[in-house]
């Protein structure tokens, strides 16, 4: 299945992209996606940690992704 990835903050700089579409196995969870991402974009290991948002809401590790989900890589926030 296809999902869209969005990168923000330091993740954009590390990956060199704002947005890409990737293929993922059906019913992948967020923690599976995270492992894939760290393989595909090894520079993401340079961030202490990152959260994942699915369709503009934070998602837990066991959340199951759906076709066409918009998945954002959220490095530690620093607004305010």
């Amino acid at each position: 299945m296809k999902i869209q990835l969005l990168f923000f903050g330091i993740a954009t700089d590390l990956v060199g992209e704002n947005s890409v579409f990737i293929e993922l196995k059906s019913a992948a969870t967020i923690s599976e996606l995270k492992k894939d991402l760290l393989k595909k974009y090894s520079k993401l290991k340079n961030i202490e940690d990152f959260a994942i948002a699915v369709n503009e809401e934070y998602g837990e590790n066991d959340l199951v992704l759906q076709e066409n989900d918009v998945v954002a890589i959220i490095p530690p926030v620093s607004g305010g």
Binding site: I10, A53, Y58, A72, I74, V77, S78, G79, G80
Partner: protein, 140 residues
């Protein structure tokens, strides 16, 4: 009546706008917090800050903070405004304003809102120094 004003903008934030939104005849006090860009961080001189946001999600998260504050504290109205783009020293990245009948609730809600914003809202700042730049909180 709208109880909250949530805004992300590339324009300069306006203190009076936030004040005017929350002010009401039923209120005895308004607590405000204004974030300002400091000229240094960890003893390094900052030249400017660049704020970026995942805007639609940031707006949702700011609205959640507003809604939660309105439930949690005895307050009347609140405004949460955040700037994006390049900010110079002294510029204002964020303003929170809260009105209430009694002042303690306004203070508590104002602190709650800024504390939570700094934890949950997908906004990032890159500090620019003479000799480089750093994404705050993200240091590898």
């Amino acid at each position: 009546m709208k109880k909250s004003s949530v805004l992300i903008t590339p324009k300069k934030l306006n203190l009076q706008d936030c004040y005017d939104f929350v002010q009401a005849a039923s209120c005895g006090g308004i607590a405000l917090f204004v974030g300002t860009v400091r000229n240094s961080t960890k003893n390094k001189e900052v030249s400017l800050l660049d704020f970026s946001a995942y805007e639609p999600m940031a707006i949702k998260e700011m609205q959640k903070i507003a809604d939660l504050a309105l439930t949690k504290f005895q307050i009347h109205k609140l405004a949460i405004h955040h700037a994006v783009g390049e900010l110079q020293i002294g510029d204002i990245p964020v303003i929170i304003a809260v009105s209430s009948a009694h002042r303690n609730a306004a203070f508590e809600a104002c602190q709650f809102a800024i504390d939570t914003l700094k934890e949950t809202v997908p906004i990032w700042k890159k500090e620019h120094f003479e000799d480089g730049e750093v994404w705050v909180n993200s240091h590898p």
